[in-house]
């Protein structure tokens, strides 16, 4: 198997990278009809598998679960999830041959094995659905020509997919049809019906391609989503301890701060987040984030380049073949950091304090979101795709840090994201060493406004606001967020 993207001529690479259509709600008037009466078999029953299945069934579709024999015999969690919610469960051999649509919701790394096991059992003309394109694009798996290959990727954790559905809404979803596998031309209709079944059509659906999804998803997760949040958290914690701030307080500020700060990002974009700061703090955060962008831009570009050329997936798959040696070693290191090992103190930090005492993180988030977005767009990814893979997902990852710090974040995200996160973190820390020597507790640990009057220069403030508000991530974000009306407010800290 060779990297699918690299087999394409430049014209076709650009063509597939550029698939990006924010779909109008009128495109979903046919409801679930394209899948009505069809037999949907989900492979895997983790958080995505179970919750998507619950939604699809509640939308009137026929859903069952195919699990590996060992999972069934060992009564593993996936088996329990499915049977205790009264789904039919069977082995691949029992269920796949009768399936009209096989929905692969196993972890990325198992895709090759799962697809190799499933494909020979699938009936002529059936559909295979993915929620991530790595297997097709990077590993270059070839799917039998009679099969239709689609992707439906809700841009939220599985529990959120369910929570939003039962309250009558949904989560933003990305769909795609693989151009090499759409023999009957039914792929798009089925992907749309699937979206209606999970409720995604109510929250905004982006038509993308396998290529655009993979190249933007990898970029987002490695840089702003996981990489920079990890680097920023560790550097912030270490700085506070170095400057004599109570370690328990520092631990709590870092653990929950990023969630509180990015909650503002979720509702109002970078502008909304920056507006939570006082005027002097906002100007300061703007200035240091400009500096951070200059420092980190080459690193962001290197990540994007390695993703586009396939270099990133090549070295990561080498590590897979090597029994995850690097991944496991780096994971263990993360578990040993001082931040990870210092329990959060039992102190009350109110919501505004997370902004006022953690201006540095606001600057990190702004720099990271804008850089990731800009780098993706420069590489040929469309702004809508770039938005989802940068700004939109940041609060979701921040939520995992709030739950159990970085180790938890790395446990929850895919191995692919985790591998990229470590690569970024290792390269980013030395880049920021000099910058961090100039950071003091007014930016992290203490209230930035303390002992300052609140005055600012009018023209300077206007210029800063102008720069923030006219950035493309803000203009596209305003449009996309409109479709996600009445987003649920996470109860922070």
């Amino acid at each position: 198997m060779s990297n699918y993207f690299n087999t394409l001529p430049l014209r076709e690479q650009l063509n597939q990278l550029g698939v990006c259509d924010f779909m109008d709600s009128s495109e979903f008037l046919d409801g679930v009809n394209a899948l009505k009466g069809k037999k949907l078999v989900i492979v895997g029953c983790g958080a995505q598998g179970l919750n998507q299945g619950l939604n699809l069934r509640d939308s009137g579709l026929n859903v069952s679960y195919a699990l590996r024999k060992e999972a069934i015999e060992g009564k593993r969690d996936s088996w329990k999830n499915a049977t205790e919610n009264n789904f039919t469960v069977g082995t691949y051999e029992e269920l796949i041959p009768t399936a009209d649509v096989v929905i692969n919701l196993t972890p990325d790394k198992q895709h090759t094995a799962v697809v190799n096991a499933v494909m020979p059992l699938m009936q002529q003309g059936a559909t295979l659905s993915y929620s991530h394109g790595f297997n097709i694009v990077e590993e270059g798996t070839q799917i039998r020509k009679d099969l239709t290959v689609i992707m439906v990727a809700p841009k939220c954790p599985g529990s959120e997919v369910r929570a939003e559905y039962v309250r009558g809404f949904g989560v933003p979803t990305l769909i795609a049809v693989h151009p090499e596998n759409d023999p009957q031309g039914k792929g798009l209709a089925q992907a749309k019906a699937y979206c209606v079944g999970t409720g995604g059509h109510k929250a905004g659906v982006l038509k993308s391609s396998f290529v655009a999804e993979v190249k933007s998803d990898l970029m987002g997760e490695q840089t702003i989503l996981c990489g920079l949040l990890q680097t920023g958290s560790i550097l912030s914690f270490d700085k506070m301890v170095e400057k004599g701030i109570d370690a328990g307080y520092a631990s709590k500020l870092v653990q929950y701060g990023v969630e509180v700060i990015t909650e503002a990002l979720k509702h109002g974009g970078v502008t909304g987040m920056m507006d939570r700061l006082s005027n002097p703090a906002k100007i300061k955060a703007f200035e240091i984030s400009e500096e951070l962008k200059d420092i980190m831009r080459p690193l962001f570009q290197k990540h994007q380049d390695d993703i586009m050329s396939g270099e990133f997936s090549r070295i990561m798959m080498e590590d897979w073949a090597n029994g995850d040696k690097n991944l496991l070693a780096w994971r263990a290191e993360t578990g040993e950091t001082a931040f990870e090992k210092t329990p959060a103190a039992d102190v009350k930090i109110n919501e505004q304090e997370y902004f006022d005492n953690y201006t540095l993180m606001v600057a990190f988030v702004r720099a990271g979101v804008e850089l990731a977005f800009e780098t993706m767009v420069q590489a040929g990814i469309k702004p809508e795709s770039a938005y989802y893979e940068s700004l939109h997902e940041t609060p979701l990852i921040a939520n995992t840090i709030a739950r159990k710090k970085l180790f938890e974040m790395n446990r929850v995200i895919s191995d692919t994201a985790e591998y990229g996160c470590y690569l970024f973190d290792q390269a980013c820390k030395p880049l920021l060493a000099d910058f961090m020597t100039r950071v003091d507790t007014d930016l992290v640990g203490k209230n930035f406004n303390e002992g300052k009057d609140n005055g600012v220069d009018n023209r300077k403030l206007i210029a800063v606001n102008e720069a923030l508000r006219t950035h493309q991530v803000e203009t596209i974000g305003a449009t996309l967020r409109k479709a996600m009306t009445a987003m649920k407010t996470i109860k922070t800290a």
Partner: protein
């Protein structure tokens, strides 16, 4: 014996920037037990929270605890609303999550929760069993918090408070969601702790109260007024009074013999715990039912099946509106025919929706509004907003309103689409008695046009007049099904 225990002078308090209490004065002397009653929104909860130190206020609140009393020197507040956290300290639970088997193990068990509470306050574990038994809670100690029904959550709060026996115990609407037996036993327990060192401030509009209450008060225009016990009812205000909006009577539902609900040997269990046992029940179009049973008897689970909310519906032999569940219908097709209100729906409702949005969302069966409803739906909602006396609040966010007002908005939401089947699960929680009577009259009026009704209410005296059938659950099984005229 008559030194003041709580001494409040010139208390002024704002709730979300609106003045609620204005220069309020109140003295509570040793051994006095007070009832605080009156209209929804008059400031009862705000005052209670101020005394417990849970909210910011201006003025002076002095509490003199008795150093010779062995009970904890605390002003302990039991909220009318409850919140619990998962094992990671978060409380982002979602509607009906407790029926999703995968989610159950993410919260602590009742036992662990109680042990941690007892440990924190150095309480004797042997005292606990009796309290648990009196409130019918013993069997639940191994359940996880997320599995509890709303009435059971309420009880857990009460169990803790009574076990703690603080010197000042403030209970805000403690009877909401409690069954008859638990209410009576709660009153006995409250009498008992008041005789041994606890003083009570009880917020309630109910009539069955602990005997130890000896002082009564209402809040009017931000001030506290002491009243006589028999004056209570005259201090209720009249909110629902207009004629029923015309559109409600526009389309009568033809009475037929079709079965709206048919359950054949329905069973629901979680692991070893069987929650519903061999339920057989038929509801025909136009029938009016009351569903009763003790807390934890399975009422909410039964209703969640009917509303399309329970995943185990698919494994049971059960028909809704003539179709077998799991025969290709979507839950949204089912919900479109049902008007539902329940404690759980209220608990998980989108707090950041305005009153008007909340009411209109009833057309779409969503929690919060996600689309432009258009003129007709808005106009219908307007009529109900007026009818329920919510005109001044229509653009206010739900979480900025007191519970009683939130509840009125959700009641309007329940009927706004004039559904075929009304499921009213303790609809009048948080309302005063007059509001309850008016709401029940409205239900009677609605149901006279062929609407089918299932009503859950723990207070016999507070049921709509139209009820004609009763189904009684006990420990997950049907105990009796009867025509209500036969019971006297």
């Amino acid at each position: 014996m008559s030194e003041p225990v709580v001494h409040i002078t010139n208390l002024t308090l704002k709730y979300r920037h609106k003045p609620v209490l204005q220069d309020l004065n109140w003295t509570i002397k040793r051994n006095e037990n007070w009832l605080l009653c009156g209209a929804s929104g008059s400031g009862k909860t705000s005052l209670a929270k101020a005394i417990a130190g849970l909210t910011h206020s201006y003025g002076n609140i002095e509490i003199c605890f008795n150093p010779n009393n062995s009970s904890p020197a605390l002003a302990y507040y039991v909220a009318n609303w409850f919140q619990f956290k998962d094992l990671e300290g978060q409380s982002n639970f979602y509607y009906q999550q407790r029926y999703n088997k995968q989610a159950v193990e993410t919260t602590a068990t009742v036992k662990a929760e109680l042990e941690s509470f007892g440990g924190k306050h150095a309480l004797e574990i042997k005292e606990l069993d009796r309290i648990l038994a009196a409130l019918g809670f013993s069997a639940l100690v191994n359940s996880t918090l997320i599995q509890l029904s709303s009435g059971e959550h309420k009880k857990l709060q009460l169990v803790k408070a009574i076990w703690l026996k603080p010197q000042l115990l403030i209970l805000d609407l403690p009877y909401n969601g409690l069954d008859v037996a638990s209410r009576q036993n709660l009153n006995l327990l409250l009498d008992e702790i008041s005789a041994t060192g606890s003083q009570l401030i009880l917020i309630s509009n109910d009539t069955e109260l602990p005997a130890c209450l000896d002082h009564f008060a209402v809040i009017e225009s931000g001030k506290l007024i002491e009243i006589e016990a028999d004056e209570r009812s005259s201090y209720e205000i009249d909110l629902i009074s207009d004629r029923v909006p015309a559109f409600i009577n526009d389309f009568a539902i033809p009475k037929t013999d079709t079965e709206i609900i048919k359950m054949v040997d329905v069973n629901i269990s979680y692991g070893d715990k069987q929650v519903l046992k061999n339920i057989n029940w038929e509801v025909k179009s136009g029938e009016k039912w009351v569903l009763q049973g003790h807390n934890g008897s399975g009422k909410s689970t039964l209703l969640s099946l009917i509303c399309g909310d329970h995943p185990q519906a698919y494994a049971n032999n059960f028909y809704l509106f003539g179709n077998k569940r799991g025969s290709g219908e979507s839950i949204w097709e089912i919900k479109a025919r049902i008007g539902l209100i329940s404690p759980e729906l209220h608990w998980y409702f989108d707090p950041s929706a305005t009153v008007a949005q909340s009411i209109i969302s009833g057309f779409y069966d969503s929690s919060g509004l996600f689309c432009d409803p258009g003129y007709t739906k808005k106009a219908q909602a307007d009529e109900l907003i007026h009818y329920f006396g919510l005109t001044a609040y229509q653009n206010t966010l739900m979480n900025e309103l007191p519970l009683g007002k939130q509840r009125l908005a959700l009641l309007a939401r329940t009927i706004v689409k004039n559904p075929e089947l009304l499921i009213l699960d303790e609809p009048c929680q948080g309302l005063d008695q007059q509001q309850t009577r008016h709401f029940n009259q409205l239900v009677d009026e609605l149901c006279s046009h062929g609407t089918t009704l299932i009503y859950v209410g723990h207070f016999e005296s507070q049921l709509p007049a139209c009820i004609e059938n009763r189904i009684l659950l006990e420990n997950g099984a049907v105990k009796t099904v009867e025509n209500i005229f036969s019971i006297t």
